[in-house]
Symmetry: D2
Subunit: 347 residues, 4 copies
């Protein structure tokens, strides 16, 4: 596949060069294990500062599904389920990880990957009004992602409304930030890390797709919300012996505002691609303003495109069409974008 243009996803390269450089510099230093080293502590401090959440607990995990399944499993009580969009990553793309942890994903209709306060209230009210509610799953948590799986963003007002309905119905709010850097870099975005720390019970700052080799930083603004999370990480097989590998990466990502800048060119490249697709009269889907571009192609067009471009399969809206994803990343080059535009021109 090495001769194709790679736009299938945003996790096809290694790490931001600053990260590798730092790993090399520190390689032979000896540190204690399991995230108890100074690099991890430094990264935690920087993240707390960036979130204006001085008491927050910060844990480093290896990937998004691991993070989602652990947070949801240990934040919910056994009689509760998690509310998510039908398109939520935990519903359709994690091989049943949430159910494997014992909990139902309670899906609600979505618009371009987003939930809203109205939909959440409906589920909560439906539970309360059901005379048989002691026989059914209690909604205990709302799962959202920023950006969503469809590349869209919640604005601050929407998040505030969701927070309000969560408070009203005693639901935890958990936000999956696998691609958060691309949201933060989006011109239209008005949601800051500080907002997330204020509004969410738990959220995570994505590293894997945003410049790290791998790694996600879980932020729990109110410490103690999940007691003994360290031991639970061990139990789940999510505790790296050389925890510093994760600490060093996030320390670099939060040095000189790298995390806030790293998504910028990716979003700009995605905009360029979107413009081209629109010029060609092709249908953009979901209205993503971030680094993911979704386009509906006739299967003949898809076949032609995939001769020279590695794109991501998204869904088949009907027998003759496919929705594909073209994703840019912090590492996408101007040159590759130009080549892609040429291919798109030829469709």
């Amino acid at each position: 596949m090495q001769d194709k243009l790679f736009f299938a996803s945003d996790y096809m390269e290694g790490a931001h060069p600053n990260i590798l450089e730092r790993l090399v510099q520190t390689n032979l230093e000896k540190t204690p294990g399991y995230g108890t080293d100074d690099y991890c502590e430094s990264a935690r401090e920087k993240i707390r500062a960036a979130c204006c959440a001085p008491n927050a607990e910060v844990f480093f995990l290896s990937g998004g599904t691991q993070t989602n399944s652990m947070i949801i499993k240990y934040l919910l009580r056994p009689y509760q389920g998690v509310i998510a969009a039908e398109t939520g990553h935990i519903q359709g793309h994690e091989a049943g990880a949430i159910e494997c942890g014992g909990h139902k994903v309670m899906t609600v209709p979505q618009q371009d990957g987003k939930l809203d306060a109205v939909g959440i209230r409906k589920v909560a009210e439906s539970y309360l009004q059901d005379d048989n509610r002691d026989h059914i799953v209690m909604p205990g948590m709302v799962y959202i992602s920023q950006p969503t799986e469809s590349g869209t963003l919640y604005n601050l007002r929407e998040l505030e409304e969701i927070r309000a309905v969560c408070r009203e119905y005693n639901l935890h709010l958990y936000l999956d930030g696998a691609r958060l850097a691309y949201g933060l870099a989006c011109p239209g975005n008005d949601v800051t890390l500080q907002d997330l720390a204020r509004l969410c019970d738990v959220f995570y700052i994505g590293g894997t797709k945003c410049g790290a080799l791998f790694g996600e930083a879980v932020v729990i603004p109110q410490p103690g919300l999940i007691p003994h999370f360290f031991t639970l990480m061990k139990q789940h097989g999510a505790l790296l012996a050389k925890g510093r590998i994760l600490g060093i990466q996030f320390d670099i990502l939060f040095t000189d505002d790298l995390y806030f800048k790293i998504g910028g060119t990716a979003v700009a490249h995605a905009d360029t691609i979107r413009k081209k697709l629109q010029q060609k009269g092709l249908e953009l889907c979901y209205g993503s303003p971030t680094n993911q571009v979704f386009v509906r192609l006739a299967d003949s067009q898809r076949q032609k495109l995939e001769e020279s471009v590695a794109a991501g399969f998204w869904e088949k809206p009907d027998a003759e069409h496919t929705i594909l994803r073209l994703a840019t990343s912090w590492a996408t080059t101007e040159e590759d974008v130009q080549k892609l535009l040429e291919v798109l021109d030829s469709l």
Copy 2:
């Protein structure tokens, strides 16, 4: 802690320099995700060749507890448990990961961390002779580690005997090779990778403690033994998006026999330390010939040692003594060993 001598464990440094170099070289290449890239495939081929197991399935996971809990969970049937030494890592050091996966650890007495065929047979026979056996846990698997948690090694004859008793009683044999490189490098060792592939149903080749940043390579000699293991990795949160990070590391570890050489100096250093301890009349424990040194100290000696040396707590055999671990690694320097010897001299 940076001013101390670090002998607490063998996972205190980063990675072998060859690995970092390769990560840097390949950093901006684009590859498909989830371990489907060419680096992973190359690493798999080299491991298959080293094991003389051309059909083996090889999967890359992130750490030992993750590997143990997944293999044991998915290899056992729900009515079965796993036989392990009382000192087995899964019994005492994994925060209940095996039970969290639904299975009982059936402990048997051990000698210096090792099980033997006689002890296994006893458990199997006791099950078969129990009139109420349909009401109890069926032994379904034997878990051993090479080297053991106590640093000792099985010889080939012992492994053959264990294999034979496993076959007789229809038990899977699973070997945890978290520190396998230090076993392979041990002068007295007579067990090869090829032997393990022939004798075990599943085993893993440890990376984290043997030169990698992180990572373990699971080898399943008979393909298909655990169907859909890829999906199970996803479900467990154990599938890295940038799977190549693991592939590149194991590709290097199995280039130019690095894995077979990497443990050599560590074992030699450990021997030097053991000699010194014996000269001092201190009691070595468990008879480890590998990179882990266990010594029984009076608590006053322990306190003195820990002023300048970071050692690992092992156990308290009584109120006045502690058994500590001094571990060397592929990265331990001659210089640090000399400094340690001086400290030991002063006890």
Copy 3:
């Protein structure tokens, strides 16, 4: 509530008098425990005969949710989910029991509580056509109920079609027969126990709602499908010490065709009630021909009805209406039906 007319459900009385009589007769006999007694064996033989399935395994469990969660948990592989109607009991009425067992319920649209082969095929095809299918839950089983939660029945042709699509896509077929006696007694029914044994991988014959104090008989036509199910029952806490209590009940239910007759008057009474509701111009829902009657009432009518009748809450289609269930049982008397008709007349 003792002064109300009870039509809330079909599990409000004790057991068919023949059952109690037999429990009294045999009370002081001594038998071995855990379902290994002669009464259990006799019941198993009668059920095998009634199903024309001489090799079938038959197990006695205590209730429907217990049965569903055990069969689904142990029949599915860990990477699989179960296809069910949105209205399926396992989806909305079992407090998350299936997810607690580790599996996703994959809902499909339904018509009056019924799935069809087309809907199942769609799910199976969607999985197969998804390029990312190794990252998602594999459909492994179809769950249906006869009668359905909406009181409707599959006819033989529909079941044959579902069986065919299950075979084509390698899906187990599991049928929940909690109210099977009321289906078998329905004039329009053309599906026999023998058909179920031929078409299903597992099904259960409901006792709790069909004349027993409690108990469900699981039938596994091909023995060995779920190995060591006895031990799994023990592990799940589903194995009664005095297993004979279940054996005696099913022995009586399958003596002199009691199980095939017991639902008859209940269905006739339900027909009478349906006729009355239609005369009154009230809207019957879902088209149930069995012992469950569903009616859509304005909330004012609901309130009036519930002054003298205990009915079952079903759902709120909108803010001003409620769908209620009126259920008859083998124990419903002519007298109570007449009183109910009078109440309905007054609405």
Copy 4:
């Protein structure tokens, strides 16, 4: 087996005649389901009164393993395990039910089936003194049984000591009363239901082995300790639709002090058997004063005994001997005891 003398266990007969009589009397009454009926409420009130625990929550479950696995699963936090005797029912006789629920059974040495405060303190201290305690299972609960699996009884002082050590180390205390009636009826017993309600966080009053068809009454003296336990029962498949069946049974067991009297003759018969065994010079095991008699026999004696007596296999202390259990129950007759004595005389 009908021609043998049955002393294999105490769950070989049906129910106390008063219970069956009441089930017959109330059979056609209509009640709401799931334990919300008046019979259940009456039984709960009587149990609260008997325990002098006016606020206690009381739930009715179907069997001992179901009860143990639910209470332990939902009372422990996911990072905790349960301390039990090596001979505890949850360790060796429940097919891995506790581990299936995700938790480790942390065994401690026992004496005649009993734990003591010293052994519990040792486990708790060992955890606290382990520098790596965040990597291991935290003890969260103590499981004991009264009478124990070996038929022995805790006296009040021992229970008070265990309670004190539990309080000191923040451990829940849970008591399994499967055979509680036989303990309460024992001449030497000084532990009352009121004591249990004062000392335990949760305990259960056994019905299955003490006069009921089936059923155990869980008592939680401090309400709210396990939130939404009703829903958890549903989820686990432990909620009977016709909950009244359990309510009626416990209502009778707690009418006219039946539960306190029902074990009396069984204990007296057991004493007679023990006397005979001692006269014969046979070795009684464990020192049980309750309805279970344990005797060590040469295998030739065992074979002879089992020609005419159904006894329970217990364990094989060596290749030539077996320990058997002879259990009496509330239903054991004078006549059967005499016959047994004759058989024993002939050994």
